[in-house]
Amino acid sequence: MALATRADRPPSLIGSVWRSTVGKKAVMAVTGVIMLAYLVAHVVGNLKIFFGAGEFNAYGHWLRTVGEPFLHHEWFLWIARAALGTAVVLHGVAAYQLSRRDLAARPRQYERKRPRASYATRTMRWGGVIIALFIVWHVLDLTTLTVNPNAQEGRPYENLVASFDRPAVTAFYIVAMLALGLHVRHGFWSAAQTLGANSARRDRVLKFLANALALVLTCGFIAVPVGVLTGVVS
């Protein structure tokens, strides 16, 4: 009698998930939700700009002291940066690889193209590229202060106002935030779908939540440059 033997090493969970389209989408969904949670915290922090330089700069300083004395100065900040950086890279690489595959799977378009999907759905790829470029600019402008006209360490309020005194920067910021809103509108619901959390019963609630999140984030972020433009923040 032959015995059942196992010759091949079984594939690893991470390897097989990353190789499949469904698994790679799950990676995009999880990293997307992580970034979304961060954005909610970010927009709440941003709105302190309307309460003056003192409160905003103190908030910026506090971010460096979170977790002390358990964590050393700025450790929390660096852990968050590492997690977010990893999420951005995984999200982007998965999106690129999946998009390449998707475009190859439909080599020819129909004579009469009739896209019935929403604008947000159709702009996920290029919207994502705009957001990625914006993140690079945003970090150079307000984190490393490389391209900031004020560039004073520890004075985020003054740096921010100086940055938004440039109309082109303000315009790019607003465009990027609109792209973000559209991205979140489709992305949040899509993440629920990809992670299997959607059902006929939850569909409307998830779509409502996606729209609400997109609206709150976009309005919250755009309020800051509008505040600078109108002189509420100076």
């Binding site: 989408k25 998707d102 475009l103 190859a104 799977a105 439909r106 129909y110 004579e111 759905t121 059902s199």
Partner: protein, 250 residues
């Protein structure tokens, strides 16, 4: 009813194809779209031309054989199969574009006929239940709650026509695969192969060159059988659950 048809003509898989224009006259609005093409083909044969090749079988909307993209929409403007689409949905003087399903995984065989055997390979990798042959089991031995039976039946309605793949901007077979996964995974008879089924079928789907899902929903809009978009969420859940359970290692 007089119509101008622009039809994709391609002699075989190796030669390039092109849209070719034909005029048809005297079309009754009670004809089905396929009968209108039959009418055109009769004229082409009488004129000594090659008739337009297209797939069809039952002409009752239940077999899934027919399928073509009409004016950019899979199975045309109505939510039904091409054989059940009637010419009353068009107007006299219309120009109608007729193309085959466009997807890398569905290569054109001739004119409007595509090779959909990629679907068979997905089914072959898990779209079944393994049962011993021989005497039929007692029907009441395995109770199935009514809501579960209804859910399974809703998904069993898939006829494998491929409209979902044709409508998807990514040429993805997620709706087709999810219909079969959900149909069998919710039933007690499908339970023993619950994990290997979804893992095997998703792997096969990827291997056949179908694209991924971007949740555009075009598939569910085009599906003549109304398979819901949420089926894809259910399949994703089944896939992640099976992966975490280590279903591949058994």
């Amino acid at each position: 009813m007089d119509l101008t048809l622009r039809i994709w003509r391609q002699r075989n898989a190796d030669e390039a194809g092109a849209m070719t224009t034909y005029r048809v006259t005297g079309i009754s609005e009670d004809m089905s779209f396929l009968e209108m093409l039959d009418h055109l083909n009769e004229e082409l044969i009488l004129a000594g031309d090659e008739p337009v090749a297209f797939d069809h079988d039952c002409r009752e909307g239940i077999c899934g054989a027919c399928g073509m993209v009409i004016n950019g929409q899979a199975h045309g403007p109505e939510r039904t199969t091409t054989c059940q689409l009637h010419m009353r949905h068009f107007s006299n003087g219309d120009t109608i574009d007729v193309e085959p399903w466009r997807a890398a995984a569905f290569p054109v065989v001739k004119d409007l006929v595509v090779d959909r055997s990629a679907f068979d390979r997905i089914i072959g990798s898990g779209g079944y239940v393994s049962v011993p042959t021989g005497s039929a089991p007692e029907a009441h031995a395995t109770p199935v709650p009514k809501p579960v039976a209804d859910l399974a039946f809703e998904h069993a309605e898939c006829i494998g026509c491929g409209a979902c793949v044709a409508a998807c901007p990514n040429g993805s077979a997620m709706l087709f695969t999810s219909a079969k996964v959900v149909h069998l995974n919710v039933l007690p008879q499908g339970g023993p192969e619950r994990e290997s089924r979804v893992l095997g079928m998703v792997d096969a789907m990827d291997d056949q060159g179908f694209g991924g899902c971007t949740n555009t929903g075009e598939c569910a809009t085009a599906c003549p059988k109304g398979i819901p978009l949420q089926s894809i969420a259910t399949m994703n859940r089944e896939y992640l659950r099976a992966s975490l359970k280590g279903g591949r290692r058994r």
